[in-house]
């Protein structure tokens, strides 16, 4: 049974011409970790606030465990939220911060005490209980904010970009910790982020939003490997997918697209048969950096592989591998090369194009061409 159903959620701010949310439909299962991802202004925070009841919706319904809560006050929805700015009560100690919600709900004192200690143990903040938030580091404040959410054992947890204010190292640590916590507690979580790596690593499923519309809803693998449209393809993955305008051509029994390097060298790349209907027409080839690498003996037997030498324009060593930029059909294309075989910029490199996982888009509708 789904824990949270968003049915055709619509929201128009008073006085605004455009809808902020244009009919969002998402079902979230009990214990599922769903991330809402999208660029700023895509409506993800509005959607989050609507679920929490902090903002009203203008259409659709929000259903929790079969009950429509769309018009209920936030306090009766049994939903907890962790904020980007932590939003800890500055005049209260950590203990009081965690206990505040319990006290207001009239929980007996000894039970509050127990609950605070349970949460503090869980998040390893027992030593901080009597300190004021201002005396804690960003990471500790984040833990307290999570503790406050955990204390009520609500039905649903909402995380609104909780890691954005932390420095890079701490962010990765806390990410792992949130994932561990979720695996242990099996709670239902809706997590908003604009960081696609956070979305990929944490989520059971990802919902990609743009301009108030759901672009794609699927597992991280689905979203990464089979993006619905150009936007999703470009948004997910770092470095992002390269898009090359190509024309599908018939060559012998198979189909190919031709690409041309900056030095005028041409290469015919084999493409799958489902593009039969596109022969002679333009399509957008979406190719991820890892699809272009140094030649690999094992892949060579496949029919969907092509090799050629291209001039490397820029190299960016990342440690485990080197990101190289080549130019194909006048666009920059990123390749992921093995750091063991360094290439310098301006030099030619032997590259292998693995066409098994590339995707194609209709240049007009920007939708992925399905097999």
């Amino acid at each position: 049974m789904s824990q949270l159903e968003l049915r055709d959620i619509r929201k128009t701010y008073p006085g605004a011409l455009d809808e902020t949310l244009k009919g969002i439909n998402i079902d979230i299962a009990s214990g599922e970790f769903l991330t809402l991802v999208g660029p700023s202004g895509c409506g993800k925070s509005t959607l989050m606030n609507s679920i929490a009841g902090l903002e009203s919706i203008t259409g659709g319904s929000i259903v929790v465990e079969g009950k429509d809560i769309s018009t209920m006050e936030p306090k009766v929805r049994d939903i907890a939220m962790v904020f980007q700015s932590y939003a800890l009560y500055p005049t209260m100690s950590v203990r009081e911060n965690i206990a505040f919600g319990l006290k207001i709900r009239g929980m007996p004192k000894d039970e509050i005490q127990q609950e605070v200690e349970r949460v503090a143990d869980l998040l390893q903040i027992s030593a901080l209980l009597d300190k004021k938030p201002a005396r804690l580091s960003g990471g500790q404040q984040q833990r307290v904010a999570m503790g406050r959410a955990l204390a009520r054992k609500p039905k649903i947890y909402l995380f609104d970009e909780p890691l954005s204010n932390l420095d890079a190292k701490l962010r990765v640590e806390m990410r792992t910790e949130i994932k561990k916590l979720h695996q242990r507690l099996k709670t239902t979580i809706v997590y908003v982020t604009h960081d696609q790596i956070e979305a990929m690593t944490l989520a059971d499923r990802i919902a990609v939003l743009k301009d108030g519309e759901l672009q794609q809803l699927g597992t991280p693998k689905e979203v990464y490997d089979t993006p619905e449209n150009l936007f999703v393809a470009g948004f997910m993955g770092s470095p992002s997918m390269s898009f090359i305008n190509v024309t599908v051509e018939q060559e012998g029994p198979g189909l190919v697209v031709n690409v041309e390097g900056s030095d005028g060298r041409k290469l015919a790349l084999p493409v799958p048969d489902y593009l039969q209907g596109w022969v002679g027409k333009q399509v957008v080839l979406g190719i991820r950096p890892e699809h272009i690498s140094q030649p690999d003996e094992q892949k060579r037997d496949s029919e969907m592989v092509a090799e050629a030498r291209f001039t490397v324009e820029v190299t960016e060593p990342t440690g485990p591998d080197i990101l190289a930029v080549i130019r194909l059909n006048n666009v920059d294309v990123q390749c992921r090369l093995d750091a063991e075989h360094p290439v310098n910029w301006g030099e030619e490199a032997e590259l292998m194009f693995d066409m098994r996982k590339v995707v194609f888009f209709d240049p007009d509708s920007e939708k992925r061409i399905r097999p």
């Binding site: 008073p14 606030n49 929490a52 009841g53 902090l54 936030p74 306090k75 939903i79 907890a80 939220m81 904020f83 980007q84 700015s85 932590y86 939003a87 800890l88 009560y89 500055p90 005049t91 505040f100 919600g101 207001i104 709900r105 406050r148 009520r152």
Partner: protein
């Protein structure tokens, strides 16, 4: 830690301190003159230098000002009026400050249609001169049956002060993240719980600003006091004026000065006690974290 290297006294330093010292003196001279004159005998005042110390230190000016000097027809000193001022100032300051805090909370965190307009209009209240509201206020107090009462005076000061206190608190609360209200709402707290349990406890600095500002304004007010209060309910500022203007025989400057000091002391004490918060409150919001 800042590592400022002390390079000893350079001429520029000496010049700066010299100018500052001079400015201090200029500002202090009136106070010094008042203070030493209040401890002089009338003889001493007439014969001596204005800045000279008293030849015989005496508190007769103070005791006389407190309980014997004539303020018009009565000759009971200023003590009654001193307490009048307290009876008017303390409730007026507390009520206007609390109202301001509440208004500020609503106007910054619970915005409604037209709330910004309302705030803008409220700001006009800060620029309305006292004189403009005299007649309408007098009419209102008359209709309410509060003319010539301390309660009426309190009401006038609350109404006049609320524009300022609202401005203080609204600007203080606007810098506090909205997420705090959201978090509290999800925790189950309502409108008033959030105000009393979360916002009021963190308002100490701006509370002090409002307190000092309102106390100084209301305590020092003369115009409202002279217009809206009469006889027994008059505040000390009015009594001081009457005392100085009551001329029977020789002018007793020592009594005048002592009375003026008495009238000025409470605001001084308030500033000394709460002053450190005043600076902190005024700069709050400019520094984050």
């Amino acid at each position: 830690m800042t590592d400022i290297v002390r390079t000893g006294f350079r001429p520029s330093r000496i010049a700066i301190y010299g100018v500052l010292l001079l400015a201090c003196l200029v500002y202090l001279v009136p106070l010094i003159v008042m203070l030493i004159t209040s401890f002089k005998t009338p003889m001493d005042i007439r014969s001596g230098n204005l800045l000279a110390l008293p030849t015989d230190w005496t508190t007769i000016g103070w005791t006389k000002a407190w309980s014997e000097a004539c303020t018009g027809v009565q000759c009971e000193g200023v003590k009654g009026y001193f307490w009048n001022s307290f009876k008017m100032t303390v409730p007026a300051v507390m009520i206007s400050t609390l109202l301001g805090a509440f208004n500020g909370y609503v106007l910054s965190k619970w915005k409604f249609k037209g709330s910004d307009l309302l705030f803008g209009m409220l700001l006009f209240g800060c620029f309305v001169p006292f004189q403009v509201v005299l007649l309408p206020m007098a009419a209102t107090l008359g209709k309410l049956g509060m003319a010539n009462t301390t309660a009426g005076l309190v009401l006038v000061h609350v109404i006049y002060g609320v524009a300022f206190t609202t401005l203080f608190f609204r600007n203080y609360y606007v810098a506090i993240p909205d997420a705090l209200v959201k978090a509290a709402r999800l925790d189950g707290a309502g409108f008033f719980t959030i105000f009393f349990r979360i916002f009021l406890p963190m308002s100490t600095p701006i509370f002090m600003v409002s307190l000092i500002w309102q106390f100084t304004q209301i305590w020092n007010d003369f115009l409202f006091g002279v217009v809206f209060a009469s006889g027994d309910s008059q505040p000390i500022t009015v009594a001081l004026n009457n005392l100085v203007n009551t001329s029977t025989g020789v002018k007793e400057y020592n009594v005048d000065m002592a009375a003026a000091m008495i009238a000025a002391l409470p605001t001084l004490v308030v500033y000394i006690v709460a002053g450190k918060y005043f600076i902190r409150g005024l700069t709050a919001g400019s520094v984050k974290g």
